[in-house]
Amino acid sequence: MSAVTEGTPEPRIDIADAAVDFPIFDAKTRSLKKAVLGRAGGRIGTDSKVPIIEALRDITLTLRRGDRVALVGHNGAGKSTLLRLMSGIYEPTRGRAIVQGKVAPVFDLAVGMDPEISGLDNILIRGLFLGMTRKQMEARVDDIASFTELGDYLSMPLRTYSTGMRIRLALGVVTSIDPEILLLDEGIGAVDAEFLAKARKRLFELVERSGILVFASHSDEFLADLCDTAVWLEHGTVREHGPLREVLQHYKGRDVLAELGR
């Protein structure tokens, strides 16, 4: 968000009884029909009711500096929605969520990238969106350029890049910033192995620098490397919140960390 964070003491996330309800406007006609068929004699066609998907409910979480939290759960359990709640994109429809500190959301590496402008311009724009100032980004551009190994390609429009090259660029920017709260959503892959090893190192350094990490992933190995606690989401609620090993064991039904040799 804003780069002016001096004076804000500690990064923190306080979520209390929060719910995120999505109104589904497209499905309205269907619900209207249901309402008409469902209760004869009742109110017909109340246009105020829009079907709602409860993506999250009764979420209560408190995170402080140093917390390294893994988000686990099946597809559609609400992991991405919870990350967006933490980033401030969604404000809870009920309950409250207080997020203090500079948030760096890394959800979709392609968003905010403009195919028509050069790689260098994209680095700048992405950095500005992540709450950096122009000066800070100009200071980091060389570092990002050498990390991405894109060389002269950086002055070419982004549309000429391959998927792997785009991810390099996005990862380069994202891992160069100094966030207080780092929110990572999976989808970090599709890069060649040698680069991944390098990206991994940078990613770890980024996590070191950040105050709070929340990481949603299906990769047990990544989670074991980066996190020490875990939140298990099921049907939009917190099923379990505790040490990574225990939560993963309950979630998967076996001791995954032992299998990985940790």
Binding site: D14, S87, Y90, E116
Partner: protein, 291 residues
Amino acid sequence: MAPPVTTGEHRTDGGGSSAPVVPDVPGPRSWQRAFGDLGQGWRQRSLWGYLGWQDIKQRYRRSVLGPLWISISMGVIATAMGILYGALFGEPIATFLPYVATGLLIWNFVNGCILEGSEVFIANEGLIRFLPAPISLHIYRLVWRQMLFFVHNLVIWLLLVIIFPQPLSASVLLAVPAFVLLVLNGLWAAMLCGIIATRFRDIPPIIASLTQLLFFMTPIVWSYERLRTNPLAAYVELNPVMHFVEILRQPLLGQDIIWRHWVIVGVITVVGCAVSLLALRNYRARVAYWV
């Protein structure tokens, strides 16, 4: 910086089980959060300033003349319309051509703010859903882009008053406050249209046809003065856009300043800003859910 606090409207303080560790914060429907959004967006001006420029440069990428095309196409349309309607209404080219061009210049700005305003959040769906940012950021970017278009088009006005000298006087300086009023109104109109259109997707096509109608109801390609004798012409005064065109066109062409238009624009500005702020206060947090 105001901490990026998010809060639901329904406090859970009745149950007694609510966590007391969470301090009280302003709800999502508070004036504090609404003005916080505007202020935070304003502080990110290096971002929207850059994006607004990119929008323009992108439109003319790989073309040789680049953004100069904005001025050229405006010049061509203004000249063609000026000659056509000048002939239809029997107006002298030397006054009518600058009149049409100046009217079009102002209309393009007003039209851009309203029309693109109705799509502003829908078009930025990806950014809104994936990157946390104040919603005012998109409004600032849009109005800034329209301002850049306006400045490009101003070249045509300059050319025309050089070719066809107008009785310009010191009153031309009034163009500055008039443009400031236009920008202010562009901001609230874009915000209001944007919020409503994001929730009700029938609004953008309605606005599109409405602005087309407004174009012909506004004295741009015809002269209000000439049609004065027609009793129906007075209804033009009901068209709010007409007053915006007049306050800026009069100083730009050295016409007599009619203060009635300024008063009406002042009232519209105050009412519009109030309504738009109210919409921002109540629905700011909903935009991310609606896009």
